[in-house]
Symmetry: C2
Subunit: 218 residues, 2 copies
DNA sequence: CTCATAAACTAGCGGTGTAAGTTTTCATTC
DNA sequence: GAATGAAAACTTACACCGCTAGTTTATGAG
């Protein structure tokens, strides 16, 4: 088949289909040939639109990140903004957990990821956090959200009662974690996020408020 | 070459070499053929000692986990034990960051990972946390530690000043993050862990202490 | 001494990412 | 409107991948 009258592929169609395949069968199951087949095309044709497979994955990762809402940093207090962002971030990632290991490596050159980092860091600095602290806070929350979305904690435990009964006395009920996967994973996230933010709020009054009030114009 | 007089391979030697290759060149660069070559052997010979490549990776992941110290749960208060464990866990993972994406998928059937989960959960329950809360706390800390070790936050940002200058005003200094990688990553971890534990301590006095004192024998 | 097992080998299957070169169509310029 | 160069599909091919099957020979147990 030569060049068709109307292109069979577009970058958007490729990314969309790749995400669907990743969601359905996992990151490891995405090959250029399978992706091309799903698009009704031969493998190498993809390279007319992307230079490498990683470039496709970058685009997929960024479309997932686009869904993250950072608008709170423009309109709410920093603590509320942080909480809303963290939940939105988590929702975006858990909607497509299989891409998380790729995405979690950092923003790289992906526009949506960079825009998110920019909004978070900017919001924290504007709220009065010293730059170094703002970096640390953004990183710490990213650690927590990415870790929570990287894989289900609950599904990490095999559903085999005998495995635990023998050698791990406290894990006797671990084989039942999978049943309650969502409530376990989400409950752990909620608890951890609340604790984290509680601790940050205390730190804020301890450092930022103190510094503000010590300044002539504070 | 037929069966040699003394075995060329042992499970330990395979795991050791695999970890060294992963440390040096990344998880993606570990192939059975490259691993075998590093051991002075042909690829398929590995399958006399391990059934699949994943079984090798499981063994590698578990040797990394063995280094994690959970002894605090037997001798210290739960908050100190949690802090010591988290730091030890982080040190073990950051010593071999390339295996973290594999290891972070859950304990599976890996003995060291299960023993760690057992110690943490058991310690928290013994300290008075309700079982569901103990699960959440263990999961939340695992999220945070795994997320922090999954990849450097600092190295996630490209060292290209122009990338940021144009569109991401608050990230103007992001290209310099790599210079301070360790202090950024570790500072973020320290800040986040302190905040998390601070929040958990508050939660403890709010729930567990209250319940204890409300019980007849409290 | 016999013989099943263990531990290496070679050959090969179906799959991978991607480079190279071909063909035809589209869009632009004279 | 003709010429031309880029675009977008194709086929072929390479080097590598995990793993299976079958072969050979040394080992260790009966």
């Amino acid at each position: 088949m030569p060049r068709p009258r109307r292109p069979l592929l577009t970058r958007d169609r490729i990314v969309e289909t790749a995400l669907a395949l990743i969601d359905a069968d996992g990151l490891g199951a995405l090959s250029t040939r399978r992706l091309a087949a799903a698009l009704g095309v031969q493998g190498p044709s993809l390279y007319n639109h992307f230079a490498t497979k990683d470039e496709i994955l970058d685009a997929v990762a960024d479309t997932v990140t686009v869904a993250v809402d950072t608008s709170g940093f423009a309109s709410r207090d920093w603590l509320t903004a942080l909480r809303d962002w963290a939940w939105s971030y988590r929702r975006a990632l858990t909607a497509h957990p299989n891409i998380v290991p790729y995405l979690a490596q950092g923003p790289g050159r992906r526009p949506a990821a960079l825009a998110m980092a920019d909004a978070v860091y900017g919001g924290l600095v504007r709220a009065g956090w010293p730059p170094a602290r703002a970096t640390h806070i953004g990183a710490a929350l990213r650690y927590f959200v990415a870790g929570s979305a990287l894989g289900s904690f609950a599904r990490g435990f095999v559903e085999d009662p005998e495995l635990y009964a023998a050698h791990y006395p406290h894990l006797r009920q671990a084989h039942r974690l999978a049943e309650h996967q969502q409530s376990v994973d989400e409950g752990a996230f909620a608890l951890g996020l609340d604790a984290l933010l509680h601790g940050l709020a205390a730190e804020y009054t301890r450092t930022v408020d103190t510094v503000e009030s010590a300044r002539p114009n504070g």
